[in-house]
């Protein structure tokens, strides 16, 4: 096996990196691939709760690099989906507990045994981001259609390019087509044109994301909502399938009248 190592990053905080990492990891595993999701947000771990695996953690990433346990011991196996594992971050340590060299060594050790390694990056452009990105061959940059988020994404793309990442693609998250229609939100073409990288997918604003995070069950586990559909499409595009881009409607999941009502809320 020769795993594809993919970092999910953004620059700006809170735009959906952890949500994307969890859902794409689950979706790829459901397609039959073996996946390790790594939480590289050391000190502020969250991927465990979003995936619903927080109660089963024994060891973490820092334990592995410090040699306190073997790599396989730290991997938390998801019992709901075959071949899905989480390597949790340490919660009580800081970012400098791990060096870039150690991250490379750790990811290379996973490369032989799995199909995909997804790395959830912390916000920012400092050490934590560098650790998350250093071992990756590919990068998924998450941005919301807002000026500050797109600007930070541009900075991150510049840094990834200068690190020689060969594949950088964009996911636009929290898209609200009703606002775009009213001319009050950047549309997808604006964002992808400005950032000039390949657009991998568009995830709509979707209340189901919050509900699923409350439960610790990523939408990709088998829900059908607009965001769940978007994650599935993104997973297929990562696998090289040619799925036409759609601009999902956040009203899609709602009833007909509710959709009409929110369309005309003036």
């Amino acid at each position: 096996m020769n795993a594809r190592i993919i970092v999910v990053t953004s620059g700006k905080g809170g735009v959906g990196k952890t949500t994307v990492t969890a859902n794409i990891s689950v979706a790829l595993a459901k397609e039959g691939y073996s996946v390790v999701a790594i939480d590289a947000d050391i000190g502020l771990r969250n991927l465990d709760v979003v995936m619903g695996l927080e109660n089963r953690i024994v060891y973490n990433l820092v334990d592995v690099v410090e040699g306190s346990c073997r790599l396989e011991q730290a991997l938390v196996r998801d019992k709901r989906v075959d071949n899905l594992y989480l390597l949790p971050a340490a919660q009580t340590r800081t970012k400098d507990a791990v060096s870039p060299e150690q991250m490379v060594e750790l990811c290379e050790a996973l490369r032989d045994s799995y199909d995909f390694v997804l790395i959830d990056s912390p916000a920012g452009i400092e050490g934590g981001f560098k650790n998350a990105a250093v071992a990756a061959d590919e990068a998924l940059v998450v941005a919301t259609p807002e000026v500050s988020s797109v600007r930070d994404a541009d900075r991150i793309i510049g840094l990834l390019e200068s690190e020689g990442k060969k594949s950088i693609s964009l996911i636009v998250n929290r898209y609200r087509s009703s606002m775009v229609k009213k001319g009050n939100m950047l549309d997808v073409t604006d964002v992808s044109e400005i950032l000039a990288v390949k657009l991998l997918g568009v995830v709509p604003e979707d209340e189901a994301v919050v509900v699923s995070t409350n439960k610790g069950e990523p939408l990709s586990m088998g829900y059908s909502s607009p965001a769940a559909k978007a994650f599935r499409d993104i997973c297929h595009r990562i696998l090289g399938k040619d799925i036409p881009l759609k601009y999902p409607d956040e009203n899609e999941g709602k009833g007909f009248w509710e959709g009409i009502k929110s369309l005309f809320r003036l």
Binding site: E146, V147, V150, R151, D154, R155, G158, V180, K182, G183, N184, M185, L186, D187, D190, I194, L266
Partner: protein
């Protein structure tokens, strides 16, 4: 305001956002490549010096934004034009 536009109140904050982004990114990206501006400055001095004597300490070279476009603006004071500029070696015959 026309009848239709009053009914379908179309916001223009999207347009504003796009314009502001395009401008701020030109600045951000130029900042990242401060090294590029320095190289460009050296190259410009080298090329122009083949034809005229210039005051290197007074050269101004910067990116300026005007409305929606950006220009490279250079102000290069000339001390004197060389008499034998016809014999200057250009980069194409430098290797001779």
């Amino acid at each position: 305001m026309g009848f239709l536009s009053r009914f379908f109140k179309v916001g223009d904050s999207k347009k504003k956002a796009k314009e502001r982004l395009q401008l701020v990114l030109i600045h951000d990206r130029a900042d990242i490549s401060a090294g590029m501006m320095e190289m460009l400055r050296k190259d410009i001095i080298e090329v122009i010096s083949r034809y005229m004597e210039i005051d290197e300490s007074q050269i101004e070279l910067e990116l300026e934004k005007e409305n929606k476009s950006v220009a490279l603006v250079a102000n290069i004071p000339i001390v004197k034009v060389k008499r034998n500029y016809r014999n200057v070696k250009t980069s194409s015959n430098k290797g001779e």
